[in-house]
Amino acid sequence: MSSNQGKVLGVSGNMVTVAFDGNVKMNEVAFISLDSGDDQVQLKAEVIRIRGRECDMQVFEDTRGIHIGTEVHFTGELLAIELGPGLLSTTYDGLGNPLDELADNSGLFLKRGVYLPTLNRTKVWQWTPVARVGQRLRAGAALGTVPEALFEHRVMVPFGIVGAIEVLEMAVAGSYTVADTIAKVKLLQTGEVRELTMVMPWPVKRPIDAYEQRLLPERPLTTRIRIVDAFFPVAEGGTACVPGPFGSGKTVFQQGVSKYAEADVVIVAACGERAGEVVETLREFPELIDPRTGRSLIERTIIICNTSSMPVAAREASVYTAVTLAEYYRQMGLRALLLADSTSRWAQALREMSGRLEEIPGEEAFPAYLGSLIAAFYERAGLVRISDPNLGSTEGSVTTIGTVSPAGGNFEEPVTQSTLAVVGCFLGLTYARSYAKRFPAISPIDSWSNYIDRMSDSLEKQYFIGWVDTVKRLAAFYAAGQRIGDQMKVVGEEDLGLDDFVHFLGAEFLDAVFLQQNAFDPVDASPSAERTALSLQLTARLIEHEWNFSNKDQARETFTQLTSIFRDWNITAVQAPEYQQLLDRLEGSMKPVDSAA
């Protein structure tokens, strides 16, 4: 605890310049004491630049009322979030303040200067010790576990501890709050003895690295969005970006993934977007049952909610808070999925601060270091091996999918470009597809995934032998079909050969029944992997069938029929009687005798 003090020298927007005497750390947190008449508040701020005896701070609140000379108290601590049991099912602002409790505490509006502990201090947890007295452990090793939602939450040796510790005392199994001491340890490097609780503060801008090694992502993270899982799969521990103009379906995509993706923990970071969209998640998830676990979806979810009208500096912090939470659950051997919507708002927060700092601007006034910050953010995703002396070896992962909101929908802008340079998968949404209501509006032509070849073994295990081949064949088929479509726009349908015309219809069919998917239909929104495998096989067979059409009208009619039946099948539940009937009709259409379905 440093008792370092400072005084405000300047204010510009949410940036405050402070003169100080002692030592100040980069990213250190300080509080600005504001007494403006009736309200006495402490405004939280973070040091973002130090020059001589002056530092610039970004303030996580509205700065109105701050004077020259207003007192500033430095805490000596970096901007951190509390880690521990009780994070799941909760909604926090970008700094880790629980929003529900804030409302209980100060009403409908977010009052500035009110900060509450991230972890509930009164809730009781069932503690089971894992480590033994006398054991020597390192950062990240489990001391004990408490059941949280669906799994055993590991309470670990704080990640920041350097060198080994020796366990001096362990709390016996029983009921404890996060604030109770659960172990007493000795830091062997310094000899210091520390009492540990279940609360571990961690500086959000520093990656957690208490793992044995990083592994190459070689398994898919199933999203249940067909076009993604088949054509542009995301790896568990990998990264993907979803750029697209406004209204192209970024948020609907992220919401779908947050519901159906095969992850143990989902961190939803609503970063500078609409509050109304978070409310949908907030109100829906407690009601939705996760079919794989039988538990409500909210139990595996944490929402970091720093929407567009909330303070901009806290928006900047929010993506770091979110990724820190993902890393924390990864350390327990879980699959954490981070969904950030939208990373452009974070980049804009950086741009606003950079402008106030009067730094030399890069392209479109974004700071020159934008690219390296984006790279560092996505680098925090990954698949790792965790070796615990008592619990054995497991793998844990952070998969990050971020949306990008490019100005004017133009992907040639700095945030999209910097992101494309570092992610493993690009899901580009196009205005043309969303305007034509072909959702999800992910471009089947421009999008890509670097993971598909690397994951071919596990993909074939999950779907069927020959999956990767089929996918690649269909992708090439679709691209060729698009070229024919473009040609047709110029020369007209009449001048197109029958074969080309049928190819074009086949590509449109693939689009209509496989690539498109209605996020609002209860069945079509989340097909199982088996169902997707069946869809893909059936689609391929129908497209590649020897139809021997005699003319274009017949071809068009057949594909119109097939599309309508297939789309009906897409929205029919497996248990429904029509499920098999519709399948039979599709199969039947390929038999020469009763082809007229």
């Binding site: 009322g65 020259i68 509006f109 500078g272 509050a275 409310v279 109100r283 567009s308």
Partner: protein
């Protein structure tokens, strides 16, 4: 206790700088001009004893020797739930309707904090406007924020005035920014019938630019007071592009580095802070926000409409004097369409699909292709749809709009051609008489 200073060091655009002590960020100041006039100004930057102010009335006529008095408070709205109704104010909240200033009122800080997202609820009620292209095709939902994207010259203010007169709302707050004086007079006259529930905050094109920047905050601060008091408030803002241009002007005077076509890097955050005031408060009132955004050069990728589209819940696209059914979208309509009438959503989809077809046929016809008799029907339907549904003069209740929809379909098509489900055809298809 008030601090008075008599020397201004620098005057650039609407921004002045002087030396002063113990001034708060955001504080309001009064500048007394040599000619006896007064203007207000707000602190937008502090550095040591150097204070930067944006002057509401602009710096025209300000001399380095003018007297600056700091008032020790933030910019505030004078609020009184009863007395505000029917009145007209400028961007700084002073009455401009020739009537006396408000007595016995509460001082409300403008630009107050955000509504706690955890206390928001999912919107669930439609707001009827009488306009089929809104009620039936892109339903406006209570607490929604929607821009009206428009090219210069489109009748956007007429549309706003109609909505103001007809929409179901307890209080209507109109914020005018950069209004042509004629438009100001137009609003004054048009809104007379609903005067007792309407408040105007008006900045005209001739008024100082900084006042323009205050209009949305004044309007929304008033709206928030009514909404927390159980009132359903409709806020109408026109034109947000003028508002953004005012921000640009001040940013340039402050020598800020522009992000995109001269607009400051925080344009998105500034616009969002205003639009996000739209809210439905559980057990209390609501704020619904409609805002005209003119698109310079009909370019939707221009920074103002572009940033707006990223913030709002859809958009109305005013083009050729009508609300275009394809470019327009109410992203919240599915939350309410299920609750209106069972035929609402399917009828809407069928009519749009057929109208889309009519546009395509029209195009083919113009390219000299021959057209079938079904195409003829589609063409005639298209023209009828435009005249009886899209025309902004059409004024019907939602039920009447839906009935009209069936009537139009029946005049041009057989039930099967509409591909509407048999059950609905049975209940709603007009019986020949």
């Amino acid at each position: 206790m008030r601090k008075v200073y008599t020397h201004i060091d620098q005057i650039v655009g609407p921004v002045v700088t002087l030396k002063a002590n113990n001034i708060a960020y955001g504080e309001l100041a009064r500048i007394r001009l040599g000619d006896g006039n007064e203007t207000y100004a707000q602190v937008i930057k502090l550095r040591g004893d150097e204070v930067t102010l944006q002057v509401f009335a602009g710096s025209k006529g300000i001399s380095t020797g003018d007297e600056v008095e700091f008032l020790g408070r933030q910019v505030q709205l004078k609020f009184s739930a009863d007395d505000l109704l029917g009145r007209t104010f400028n961007g700084v909240g002073e009455p401009v309707d020739g009537r006396p200033a408000l007595q016995d009122c509460e001082d409300v800080d403008i630009g107050g904090p955000s509504f706690n997202p955890a206390r928001r609820i999912i919107p669930s009620q439609m707001i009827q406007t009488g306009i089929p292209m809104i009620d039936m095709f892109n339903t406006l939902v209570k607490s929604q924020k929607l821009p009206i994207f428009s090219v210069a010259g489109e009748p956007y203010n007429e549309l706003l005035a109609r909505i103001a007169l007809q929409a179901e709302a307890d209080v209507i707050v109109l914020g005018g920014m950069g209004l042509k004086y004629d438009d100001y007079l137009f609003f004054q006259r048009q809104l007379v019938p609903s005067k007792d529930r309407t408040i105007l905050f008006v900045h005209t094109a001739a008024d100082p630019v900084v006042e323009c920047m205050m209009v949305p905050d004044m309007a929304l601060a008033a709206a928030e007071k009514y909404a927390t008091d159980g009132k359903d408030v409709l806020v109408l803002l026109t034109d947000m592009t003028a508002y953004a241009d005012a921000m640009k002007e001040v940013a340039v005077a402050m020598e800020q580095i522009p992000a995109n076509r001269g607009y400051p890097g925080d344009l998105y955050s500034q616009l969002a802070a205003r639009y996000e005031k739209a809210v439905d408060i559980q057990g209390s009132g609501s704020i619904t926000l409609l805002a005209v955004t003119t698109m310079p050069g009909d370019d939707v990728t221009h920074p103002v409409p572009d940033n707006t589209g990223y913030i709002t819940e859809g958009q109305f696209y005013l083009k050729g004097g009508v609300i275009d059914p394809f470019g327009s979208l109410s992203r919240l309509k599915q939350l309410v369409n299920k609750k209106t009438r069972e035929d609402h959503a399917p009828l809407m989809n069928a009519m749009i699909r057929l109208y889309d077809a009519s546009r395509k046929v029209r195009q083919q016809q113009s390219m000299g292709f021959s057209i079938s008799s079904f195409d003829q029907a589609v063409l005639a339907y298209g023209a009828d749809f435009e005249a009886r549904m899209m025309d902004l003069k059409v004024n019907l209740l939602l039920d009447e709009q839906l009935d009209m929809g069936w009537k139009i379909l029946a005049e041009h098509f057989t039930p099967a051609q509409t591909m509407l489900p048999g059950k609905l055809i049975e209940s709603y298809w007009p019986k020949g008489d």
